[in-house]
């Protein structure tokens, strides 16, 4: 395989440096203004603050899951010593370091905890025996402490891989790969535990009475499926600027399509397992969660989720010919991302304390927050990417990735 891939001989644009740092990108400023403006409007009309925070949490979780999905991809690539994905790994490294932005943007959630979570309101806890029992876990200081820990782990891991991979660009030392592989195994262990409890804290405890042991896996499955869709989309967009056109081929896109497809099926499996077991056993402490999502307009939303998050991408991405055409794959990826956002919306919004049952509470804040987060993350991701080559150009397995071909 060696003769096929001599990376130094290839003429290809692999960098997108335009000299702009994060804070000199207009996107960052517009994003900040959107979020800040929205927050200010909400803050000064007291009754809307909760609604704004719901939208904020929704958009926040969406981008958090994408960044965590990127971290997962970096970890799993090293853990399995993958060769085919080397040319894609740098993009994931760059997205994963955006977790610093997630950490920063977590502050408003902490400030608004009482508006989002019933367990954070002493007056409600005082009248709720179940919440009192859970107080050892669900209390504000411990919540903050846990999130400090989660972010320490995530940002620590993301930076470790970002830094070592960058060093390898300069030194070409294969020992760095070995070091990254060594950390990936304990890293994966920490990652799985932290995302599980993060999903309990951020989403499951919105309904503090409800519990489901599979919830962490559910969170993970949606996260990974949408990350693969994002990566495919990102590659296709970047290639339109004439970058990475040779090092990331249609074979890689085909594989990203397969992985998106696979994790969509995995999501459906996990979602069905959770639903079916709760439906079948029909215990009052569990079914309430699904019942709220089957009332009034939410029934339609649940059906849209079922069809849109599973059947549509399942049938669309099944064909090899679709996965190998950039335009079609990009369309599929956009759809998967849209549905992932919808999945989170479906989890977050129908809460008893968020208002009337059976009504889908669309609000302009949803769009404002999504746009604000999108711009901020765009600026942050771009900043991470412009600092160095978009592929790990001296990775010892680069040749394997460049020569990679699907067998059928």
């Amino acid at each position: 395989m060696e003769q096929l891939a001599n990376p130094d001989q290839r003429e290809e644009k692999r960098n997108l440096d335009d000299g702009r740092t994060w804070f000199s990108t207009p996107a960052a400023w517009v994003g900040l203004i959107l979020l800040g403006g929205g927050g200010a409007v909400a803050f000064f009309s007291e009754d809307r603050l909760q609604r704004f925070l719901q939208s904020y949490l929704f958009a926040y979780t969406f981008f958090l899951t994408l960044a965590l999905g990127a971290l997962f991809f970096v970890l799993i690539s090293h853990l399995t010593r993958a060769g085919w994905s080397v040319t894609l790994r740098r993009l994931a490294e760059d997205l994963a370091v955006c977790l610093w932005l997630s950490a920063l943007l977590f502050v408003p959630i902490i400030l608004g905890l009482g508006h989002l979570y019933e367990w954070a309101r002493p007056e409600i806890v005082a009248n709720d025996a179940l919440l009192q029992e859970k107080e050892a876990y669900l209390n504000v200081p411990f919540f903050i402490l846990r999130w400090v820990f989660y972010f320490t782990v995530w940002i620590g891991l993301a930076h470790y891989f970002y830094r070592l991979s960058g060093q390898q660009d300069e030194t070409g030392d294969p020992a760095l790969t070995l070091r990254m592989e060594r950390l990936s195994a304990p890293g994966m262990l920490l990652f799985s535990l932290t995302i599980t409890f993060a999903s309990f804290d951020l989403l499951m405890s919105l309904d503090a009475h409800w519990f489901s042991t599979i919830f962490g896996v559910y969170f993970f499955s949606g996260m990974v499926a949408s990350f693969f869709a994002l990566l495919a989309l990102l590659v296709i967009v970047i290639q339109r600027f004439g970058i990475l056109e040779q090092s990331v081929t249609v074979e890689h896109l085909h594989d990203l399509g397969k992985l998106t497809f696979g994790f969509i099926v995995f999501w459906a499996y996990i979602a069905f397992s959770q639903y079916m077991l709760i439906w079948y056993a029909n215990l009052p402490e569990e079914t309430g969660w699904y019942e709220r999502r089957q009332e009034g307009a939410w029934m339609w939303a649940s059906l849209v989720l079922l069809v849109g998050h599973f059947f549509v991408p399942f049938l669309f991405l099944m064909s090899k010919h679709i996965k190998r055409r950039k335009g079609l794959l990009a369309a599929g990826a956009c759809w998967v991302l849209l549905m992932h956002a919808f999945d989170l919306y479906w989890i977050i919004m129908p809460q008893k304390h968020f208002g009337e049952a059976g009504r889908i509470p669309f609000h302009p804040f949803d769009v404002v927050c999504m746009a604000g987060f999108a711009l901020l993350f765009f600026a942050a991701g771009r900043d991470a990417m412009r600092r160095r080559c978009l592929i790990p150009q001296r990775d010892p397995r680069l040749a394997e990735a460049l020569a990679f071909e699907n067998e059928s």
Binding site: F272, Y275, M276, Y280
Partner: protein, 207 residues
């Protein structure tokens, strides 16, 4: 692929009236030689010919110009059939023909029917993949003329062969053999049809 087709070409045989050629079988030593020769045979315009290898060789499909198989569509059909069968069976038996309420579930409980629908989808898809493959390949097959050649028993070990059927319209004993020899074969032989083809699988004289 059809032995009886060879009868049309009796006249082209070396000993008309005595023996009928089944085809030409050429042996190659490496995958590279085989792929090179396959390109030559295809370019010479042959249609009823084949390569025989101990394992699938990367790039040989393309060299031979093999068209993509329709197996995927057969499997899709099998899957849809299994899916509909599972859905219909559970609906008809439990909700229509023999309705009774159990564990407070609706007579037609779709969530509880998903597992069996899924299993039957997989079952029928998998069976159509397997039997579809066999049928498209014309297997099981009692005998093929290439088995008459002793050297051919190494095709399942470490040798590579190209066979050109006598029923191919371009077939000519001398020309076809010459083509394969010039294409790098270590031995191209004409295989003659036999009077009694009663042996199963390979032609092996050991007893």
């Amino acid at each position: 692929m059809d032995e009886s087709g060879a009868k049309e070409h009796v006249d082209r045989g070396e000993f008309p009236g005595h023996r009928t050629a089944s085809g030409v079988l050429a042996e190659f030593e490496t995958p590279a030689d085989l792929v090179r020769a396959a390109v030559r045979v295809r370019e010479a315009g042959y249609r009823r010919w084949d390569a025989h290898t101990p394992f699938p060789i990367h790039g040989l499909d393309r060299a031979m110009g093999i068209k993509d198989t329709a197996l995927g569509w057969i499997v899709l059909g099998g899957g849809i059939f299994g899916c509909l069968l599972g859905l219909w069976m559970q609906w008809w038996t439990n909700a229509v023909d023999y309705p009774f309420i159990i564990s407070g579930k609706p007579l037609w409980s779709l969530p509880a029917n998903i597992p069996i629908i899924f299993e039957l989808t997989i079952l029928f898809s998998a069976l159509s993949a397997f039997f579809g493959m066999l049928i498209l390949n014309g297997l099981p097959k009692h005998h093929h003329w290439a088995f008459s050649e002793d050297r051919f028993s190494r095709v399942t070990s470490d040798r590579y062969f190209i066979s050109i059927e006598a029923s191919d319209s371009n077939f000519d004993i001398e020309e076809s053999r010459a083509l394969l020899e010039s294409a790098g074969s270590v031995g191209a032989k004409v295989v003659w049809e036999r009077e009694h083809e009663d042996k199963l699988g390979s032609d092996n004289d050991g007893d």
